[in-house]
C-alpha cells in the first residue's frame, strides 16, 4: 500500500530487520494488528526486501555481534523499493545518523522507547498520505468555509498522530465531538474512540464509569465492569463537560492520566491503559479556574493544545453549505430570498445541532419550497425553550442505571448555576429555587470536595 491508499481499512505490511530475538519479539507486540514479517540477518533481509512489497521497514544497523553495520547497506535497497525506511539502532553517533539519512532513511531512532516511537511512526506514515485528506474533511466531516475555523482545525489535525492532550472549547453544537472523532480517526491509534459526558453522572457513578468496578465493589455491582479508561486502551478517551467534574474526581483522573494506570473500584491490583485524552467544555475555562471548579494541575494536564470553535453566528458562511450537506441524498430544499436572509440573520444559539433540527423539520414538514413564513414559524418554535430538556447522554444513563442519578446530577447543576448567577448568595438561591437548606448545603459540600 502506498500513501494515498486506503489507510484505515488495510493492515500495513511491515518488515522488521533485527538480529536480536528479544527485540523482534517486542516489535511483534508493538506492531500487533499489522502484517509483520521479520528478518534476523542481512541475507534474509535482502531476500525479503527483493521479493516482498512492504509499506514500512524497521532496520537495525548492526546485524550480528561482530557485524560491520550491514543494516546501512539495506537502506538503499529498501528505499529503491519505495519502502518507508526507519532505522532503529543503539548506535547514535552523528556520523552514522547522517549516513543513514543520506542513504534515504526517513526516520532514525535510538532504541529504547519502541512502544511509543512505533505508534508515532505508523501515525506519521499514515498522515504522510493522509495530509492531503485534511483539506477534504472541510467538505465532508467538518463542513466549514470559515477561514479561521479551517486554519484552526487544520492546525490541531497536525497533532492527530501525537499523544498531545487537546482541549476543545466552544458552545454546544459547534463540533467539539466531531473534531475529537476526527483527531482519533487520523491518529493511527489502533484502539477505540471512547466518549464520556462527565456532566451526566454523579461523582460516585462517574468514578465507576471511568475506572470500572469489580463485582461486589458496591451495592448493585453484580459483575465486573470495564471502565472507559480501560475501553480506551491504545485509543482515545474523549471527556466532554470536564467542568462538571468535582475537584476530587479531577485528582483521581489526573493521576490516571499521568500514570496510565488506575484502580477499578473494589480492585486491589492496578490496571493499565494507553489512552490519549481529548477533553471539552462549553464553559469559560478561566472562570472555572478562578472559581476553583477546575484544578490548575488537572487543567495543565489536559490542555496541551486548546482549540476554540466558533459558534455558527460567527461563521454564517457555513449555514447554507451545512444545509446542503444535511440534505444530501434527501429531499433538497429551495429557499426564497427572504427566507435565506432570515436564516442568515438568525443567531442560531443551538449552533449546528439547532440547524440540523430545523433542516429535519422542514424536510419532512414541508414540500421543499421554503418561504419566509415557514422559516419564521419553525425557527421561532426551535428557539422556544424546551421544557424539561435533557441530553442524550442523560437519557441513556437513566435507561441503564435508573433515573435517580441523573436527577441528582441535574439538581446539582441547576443549584450550582443559580448560586453562580447570585454570586454565591445562598439565601437568594434558596428563595428562587424553593429548595431546602439541607439540599443546598449537600450540593455545595460535594462541589467543594
Amino acid at each position: 500500500m502506498v500513501p494515498g491508499g486506503n489507510f484505515y481499512m488495510d493492515r500495513l505490511k511491515i518488515l522488521v530487520i533485527d538480529d536480536d530475538r528479544l527485540a523482534r519479539d517486542i516489535m511483534a507486540d508493538n506492531l500487533a494488528g499489522q502484517a509483520v514479517e521479520f528478518a534476523g540477518d542481512k541475507a534474509a533481509a535482502e531476500r525479503k526486501l527483493k521479493a516482498g512489497h512492504y509499506d514500512i521497514c524497521f532496520i537495525d544497523l548492526m546485524l550480528g555481534e561482530n557485524d560491520n553495520y550491514s543494516g546501512l547497506k539495506l537502506i538503499p535497497l529498501a528505499v529503491s523499493k519505495g519502502i518507508y525506511s526507519v532505522v532503529m539502532s543503539s548506535c547514535d553517533t552523528e556520523e552514522t545518523i547522517s549516513q543513514a539519512y543520506a542513504l534515504g532513511c526517513k526516520e532514525f531512532y535510538v532504541k529504547g522507547n519502541e512502544r511509543a516511537n512505533v505508534t508515532a511512526i505508523i501515525a506519521r506514515y499514515i498522515q504522510g498520505g493522509a495530509s492531503k485528506k485534511v483539506e477534504g474533511i472541510f467538505s465532508k466531516e467538518f463542513i466549514t468555509n470559515d477561514p479561521g475555523t479551517r486554519s484552526m482545525v487544520a492546525e490541531v489535525m497536525k497533532h492527530a498522530s501525537t499523544s498531545l492532550p487537546i482541549l476543545l472549547l466552544g458552545p454546544s453544537g459547534t463540533g467539539k465531538t466531531t473534531v475529537a472523532k476526527l483527531l482519533h480517526e487520523h491518529s493511527g491509534r489502533a484502539g477505540r474512540f471512547v466518549d464520556m459526558n462527565c456532566g451526566a453522572y454523579t461523582d460516585e457513578l462517574l468514578e465507576a464509569e471511568l475506572f470500572g468496578c469489580k463485582k461486589g465493589a458496591f451495592t448493585g455491582a453484580n459483575e465486573n465492569r470495564t471502565g472507559k479508561l480501560a475501553q480506551a486502551d491504545k485509543g482515545t478517551l474523549f471527556l466532554d463537560e470536564i467542568g462538571a467534574m468535582s475537584r476530587n474526581m479531577q485528582v483521581k483522573l489526573l493521576k490516571a492520566i499521568e500514570e496510565k494506570s488506575f484502580y477499578p473500584l473494589g480492585a486491589d491490583k492496578p490496571e493499565y491503559s494507553d489512552f490519549r485524552v481529548i477533553s471539552a467544555t462549553l464553559e469559560d475555562v478561566q472562570e472555572l479556574l478562578a472559581e476553583n471548579k477546575l484544578r490548575f494541575d488537572f487543567f495543565q494536564r489536559v490542555h496541551g493544545m486548546t482549540v476554540t470553535l466558533k459558534p455558527l453566528a460567527q461563521r454564517k458562511c457555513d449555514i447554507f453549505p451545512l444545509i446542503q450537506a444535511l440534505t444530501k441524498g434527501k429531499k433538497r430544499l429551495a429557499f426564497a430570498p427572504e427566507a435565506k436572509e432570515y436564516l442568515l440573520a438568525h443567531s442560531w444559539p443551538g449552533n449546528a445541532r439547532e440547524l440540523k433540527t430545523f433542516v429535519d423539520i422542514v424536510t419532512t414538514g414541508t414540500d421543499g419550497q421554503i418561504t419566509l413564513e415557514i422559516v419564521n414559524h419553525y425557527v421561532k418554535q426551535l428557539a422556544a425553550p424546551a421544557a424539561f430538556a435533557f441530553t442524550q447522554a442523560q437519557y441513556d444513563y437513566a435507561l441503564e442505571h435508573g433515573l435517580a442519578g441523573v436527577v441528582e446530577n441535574l439538581q446539582a447543576g441547576i443549584i450550582r448555576r443559580n448560586l453562580n448567577e447570585n454570586h454565591g448568595k445562598k439565601a437568594a438561591t434558596l428563595k428562587q429555587l424553593k429548595i431546602s437548606k439541607r439540599l443546598l448545603y449537600s450540593v455545595v459540600t460535594k462541589a467543594q470536595k
Binding site: 536480536d20 528479544l22 517486542i26 507486540d29 555481534e65 543503539s90 548506535c91 529504547g112 519502541e114 493499565y272
Partner: protein, 62 residues
C-alpha cells in the same frame, strides 16, 4: 578480533531490549509469557557473556 565499540554497542542494544521487555511484561499475553521470559533469560546471559568479553578486551595491553 572483536571491536570494543561493537561489544559496547551489542551490550547497549541487548540491555535496552531487556529493559523494554521488563517494563511491558505486564502487557505480555499469558500464552506468550513463558517464551518471553526464556528470551529475556537468554538475553541476560548474552549480556553477562559480553561483559566478560569486554573486561577481557580492556585488560589486554594496548
Amino acid at each position: 578480533m572483536p571491536d570494543i565499540s561493537k561489544i559496547r554497542h551489542t551490550i547497549k542494544s541487548k540491555t535496552t531490549s531487556l529493559k523494554e521487555a521488563a517494563e511491558f511484561m505486564h502487557k505480555c499475553p499469558d500464552e506468550k509469557i513463558r517464551a518471553r521470559i526464556a528470551l529475556m533469560r537468554e538475553t541476560a546471559q548474552d549480556i553477562v557473556r559480553l561483559l566478560i568479553e569486554l573486561e577481557a578486551e580492556l585488560q589486554k595491553p594496548v
